[in-house]
């Protein structure tokens, strides 16, 4: 209890310092929307911190195929709305914050853009981390005999996680022929988990909103969609187009078949949205809580100080919650994917009983 009180006072003191100093300055309004969405959305550079007027960021490679061919350059050249080789970052419109070029009639058009953006780089870093962790675990197994017992420490934890997903989620969800799908589902789980967790680390190389990006979740959901439908059994397709419902529900107007058919798409769609929305909302919530500190600067040191305490406490709570969510969302994605795949693997006998 004493420790917590001490920590509170410390937090308060520390946070009052810059707030007090700032209040002296000509307080410029903080555009919370800009800050939050600027973080949640992808970016061509990795902004780390702004000290005073100086922005510290890592420029990332821009790879674009525009009407004039392939362009590959550092994103530093596009800073502050600069135009480089006819390309610039749109300030507004449909392609806000994306690289665009102008066509002959002066309209903004989007070129083929495969730049290594912040999310892509973060994903690469996280993937390398994941592969490194997994291969390190695998190496442990290669170097030890079966008779030497189970691993301890980090490898043991990874084994526990892998087995939990493999035995409880995948085996339980898919059923007898789970082996074909296990590698994908395990990869998906750990890919999501590490990206979620790294997203919670506030400093470089963490902090990117990878799994809160709809493109990422879309690809994952697509993989599940493909695996579900490519290996669907006859019973699965029969249940979609000729389900066991009263005939009038499917003969003149194919109501149930239509619903079932949409179900094929809504299931992975729900997967995509669920993961995206959860992670994005988590990032947004934490950022908004932090933003409270800067918004209340104008209200004077007392309110600002007390709001800072509140914001920090809620921020800690949100971060702890997000840790939970990071795991739960990875787990839920994997579990639902295996359940969908399991449903598509239904054999006739199972239905008949």
């Amino acid at each position: 209890m004493k420790k917590i009180r001490l920590l509170l006072i410390l937090c308060l003191g520390l946070l009052m310092l810059p707030a007090g100093a700032r209040a002296e300055e000509e307080a410029q309004p903080v555009d919370v929307n800009e800050v939050v969405f600027g973080h949640i959305q992808d970016a061509y550079e990795w902004h780390i911190v702004t000290v005073g007027d100086k922005k510290v960021s890592i420029p990332l490679p821009v790879i674009v195929k525009s009407s004039t061919g392939w362009h590959c350059f550092s994103s530093a050249r596009l800073e502050d709305g600069a135009v480089y080789e006819g390309l610039y970052i749109a300030r507004e419109g449909a392609y806000k914050d994306k690289i665009v070029e102008r066509d002959a009639s002066g309209n903004e058009i989007r070129p083929w853009d495969i730049s290594i953006t912040k999310n892509v780089l973060a994903m690469m870093i996280n993937s390398v981390l994941l592969v490194w962790i997994m291969l390190a675990c695998a190496r442990w197994y290669k170097r030890h005999e079966v008779s030497q017992g189970a691993p301890k420490g980090g490898v043991g934890m990874m084994e526990y996680l892998i087995l939990m997903i493999h035995d409880d989620v995948i085996k339980g969800g898919i059923g007898p022929d789970y082996k074909r799908y296990a590698p994908y589902l395990l990869t998906a789980f750990f890919f999501i988990l590490i990206n979620n967790l790294m997203g919670l680390v506030p400093i470089f190389p963490g902090g990117a909103n990878v799994t809160g990006n709809i493109a990422i979740t879309m690809v994952l959901a697509l993989c599940t969609f493909i695996l579900t439908n490519v290996y669907g059994t006859k019973t699965y397709w029969k249940d979609i187009f000729w389900p066991d419902v009263p005939t009038w529900l499917k003969v003149p107007i194919p109501m149930m078949p239509l619903i079932e058919f949409f179900g094929i798409f809504t299931k992975p769609f729900a997967l995509m949205i669920r993961l995206f929305a959860n992670i994005m909302a988590g990032h947004a919530a934490v950022l908004s809580l932090v933003a409270i500190i800067f918004i209340t600067v104008k209200a004077g040191p007392v309110i600002n100080g007390s709001m800072t305490v509140v914001a920090v406490l809620f921020g800690i709570f949100m971060d702890a919650l997000e840790l939970l969510v990071a795991f739960i969302q990875a787990y839920v994605f994997t579990m639902l994917s295996s359940v969908f795949i399991g449903l598509s693997r239904i054999q006739h006998e199972h239905v008949e009983k």
Binding site: A182, T187, A215, M218
Partner: protein, 167 residues
Amino acid sequence: MGLLTPDPGTVFWMIIIFGVVFFILAKYAFPVIIGMVEERKKYIDQSLEAARQANEQLAQVREETDRMLKEARDEQTRILKEASQTRDRVIKEARVRAQLEAQKALEETRLQIVAEKESALNDIRQQVAILSVDVAEKILRKDLKSEQEQLDLVNRLIDEMVTASKK
């Protein structure tokens, strides 16, 4: 809405990165780990089975030992019993033999005594006979000096013999 439209570039990189990660993990990481874990499961099952068998064998061995111990104890009792029986028998036999020997010796002694007695009696008898003959001779010599006396004796003797034969 920038948030809800997937960016093609991100999709492109996601497919590549996820594909590579999937390829590496599915080929080099998960099969190794899960294979090993399954092997370990098998190994544990085998170990348990082996332990169970060993326990069973141990129980058998213990039973065998108990049986052997019991047999040995029985054997011991039997041998002890036999030994005591033999001892008793030997003692008894020895006693019987000793008695017999003693009896035999006693018998022999008695026989000898009887024989000695007889021979002593015979000697005595002989001596008595000789003495009596001598005495008789002396008496006869003195008594049968006359003819008459001799005849009387003869007659008397004949009478005696006749009465003896008549009897």
